[in-house]
Amino acid sequence: MVIFDKPHALTDVPLHYCPGCTHGIVHRLVAEVIDELGIEGKTIGIAPVGCSVMAYDYFNFDMIEAAHGRAPAVATGVKRSDPENIVFTYQGDGDLASIGTAETVHSAARNENITVIFINNAIYGMTGGQMAPTSLPGQVTQTSPYGRDVNLCGYPVKVCEMLSQLDGPEYLARVAVNNVKNIKNAKKAIKKAFENQINGKGFSLIEVLSSCPTNWGLTPQKALQWIDEKMIPYYPLGVYKDRSAEKGDE
């Protein structure tokens, strides 16, 4: 009897992520959802620039590696070309909320029928721990060595809150992957985001609060606690927009 197995949508390539990084969890959740929905053969994933730049090696379906921040624009092209295919982007906070803010906002405003998985770990991981658009006030990083000074570099970007002001997007939710309960909720949200696309409902973005023990300078376990203690109070979990629910479709 098989109790635990690798989702078919994941390849056998070993992940390069640091010990305790939650990218692996989110990859797995996405792959499980794609397996469960039976859409692997028609899914196109778009990897960002950031730690998950090599996600194209980890997923079994067709993949594109996009320029930094441009994944939603690339996804727009792919989806407009083959609307019957399922297109998602997988982006970090620097990619989605800093250099790619315009692409994020406008793909949401257009209600592009795509799914966006947004990894918010409040730091630039791949380049070695610089301040991200989502780094918390006071957070020490390589480029905010005295702590993020909001007078100097402003406040973090709250993506779900910001996008919820738009009429365009279908579904916006913030989840976390720092404990079993949160992971289960995260999977539910991710599944709904893909189902929305299958049902032609439009733009769904799932913001996933994630850990970066290496660049936070914490043990994996402490990093998961840091999500609870620091991140969730600033970035409350929940559904920020669900147009179908508002309209009473469900």
């Binding site: 390849t11 692997e40 053969g41 028609k42 899914t43 196109i44 778009i46 730049v53 090599m54 194209y56 090696d57 997923f59 079994n60 379906f61 067709d62 993949m63 594109i64 590696e65 996009a66 320029a67 441009r70 624009a73 690339v74 996804a75 727009t76 092209g77 792919v78 989806k79 407009r80 070309s81 083959d82 295919n85 315009a102 692409e103 906002v105 406008h106």
Partner: protein, 354 residues
């Protein structure tokens, strides 16, 4: 001539693209190419295609990247400052070996520059246009008919060699109307087994990517790509020779500059000056051999350009010191008059040129 219609150059590009099977256009408004977008906005919805006004030039070129990844013909158009913004995307298209058509209806620069015709993006277009080792096929029309024909050709070359083809036009070419025949001979479509169309659970996954963290692998990819470029340089050079048979002076000019130069050459010929024209139609690959061959016969070259002199460097490389190469130019949106070109020709003829 009943089969010919009067069309603006920008519209001819758009209609030719549609006839070539392009069903996806992404752009951002900028003078003097907006007619391309306007034409696409009108036509695409009626033929089941996509016209999308992107939030930025950067988004537009990345939407192009997305469609190109799926193997379908796709294009964007802009003018000089907009092309600079697309530079990142052009480099990624090259790195991922994706076919696309990009139109640059040039205006004066640098910076915001002006909106009048220019050829000052020659370096940008022919020497890569962004970071990394790469080329684009660069096609330079000198008539509305060529705007249309080179659009079709551009899509075909892009598909064949898996790279970007750029139409390098200028404000004059985009805005002028001339009779055009849209009766093209199309090449057979190219198979695109590399496209990301969904595995259908029947094949290994395809990956569109320009990231190579191992330098030896990246080097090999670049070497291989440049082997392909060699084939293009061997087989795809296009140029026109005008009154070169007995020429003692050779004018080098492309696009609108070549049209002006033809007037000047005709006038010079009436005065008994043996002058001809080599008009590069492909700016990359550059017709190096044609200029090298001319250098064996003519005593002086004159590059006529709407820039501070950019193509002149390629003419000099091709001529390789065998004859002097002079410049006759206007820039910033100004166009040389036939009289200015004639004066330059006569000055060379009378031995007065530098």
């Amino acid at each position: 001539m009943a089969d010919k219609v009067l069309m603006k150059g920008n519209e001819a590009i758009a209609e030719a693209a549609i006839l070539a099977g392009c069903r996806h256009y992404f752009g951002y408004p900028i003078t003097p190419q907006t007619e391309v977008a306007a034409y696409m906005a009108k036509r695409m919805p009626k033929i089941g295609g996509t016209f999308l006004q992107a939030e930025s030039e950067i988004a537009a070129i990345n939407m192009v990247y997305g469609v190109a990844s799926t193997g379908k013909r796709v294009m964007t158009s802009s003018s000089s400052p907009g092309i600079s913004l697309k530079g990142e995307g052009l480099s990624y298209l090259a790195g991922a070996d994706l076919p696309a058509l990009v139109v640059n209806v040039q205006r004066g620069g640098p910076g915001l520059g002006g909106i009048q015709p220019s050829q000052s993006d020659y370096f940008q277009a022919t020497k890569g246009g962004a970071h990394g080792d790469f080329h684009m096929i660069v096609l330079a029309p000198d008539s509305v008919q060529e705007m249309a024909e080179l659009t079709v050709r551009g899509f075909e070359l892009a598909d064949q060699y898996r790279m970007t083809a750029m139409i390098l036009a200028d404000g004059t070419m985009g805005q002028m109307m001339e009779p055009v025949s849209l009766d093209f001979k199309f090449r057979d479509p190219v198979e695109k087994p590399w496209a990301v169309t969904g595995t259908g659970m029947k094949r290994e996954h395809n990956i569109i990517n320009s990231l190579y963290l191992k330098p030896d692998l990246l080097e090999k990819t670049n070497f291989d790509r440049f082997e392909r470029y060699k084939v293009i340089e061997e087989n795809e050079v296009l140029y026109e020779e005008y009154k070169m048979e007995d020429a003692e002076i050779c004018v080098a000019a492309f696009g609108i500059a070549a049209r002006v130069a033809k007037n000047a050459i005709d006038q010079a010929r009436e005065q008994g000056v043996k002058v001809g024209l080599i008009r590069p139609i492909t700016l990359w690959p550059f017709p190096t051999k044609a200029f090298a061959a001319a250098a064996e016969k003519v005593g002086h070259f004159l590059s006529v350009e709407l820039s501070m002199g950019q193509m002149i460097e390629d003419v000099r490389l091709a001529v390789n010191g065998k004859a002097p190469v002079s410049l006759c130019n206007r820039t910033g949106g100004m166009i040389p008059l036939p009289e200015q070109v004639l004066d330059a020709i006569l000055s060379i003829h009378n031995g007065g040129a530098k």
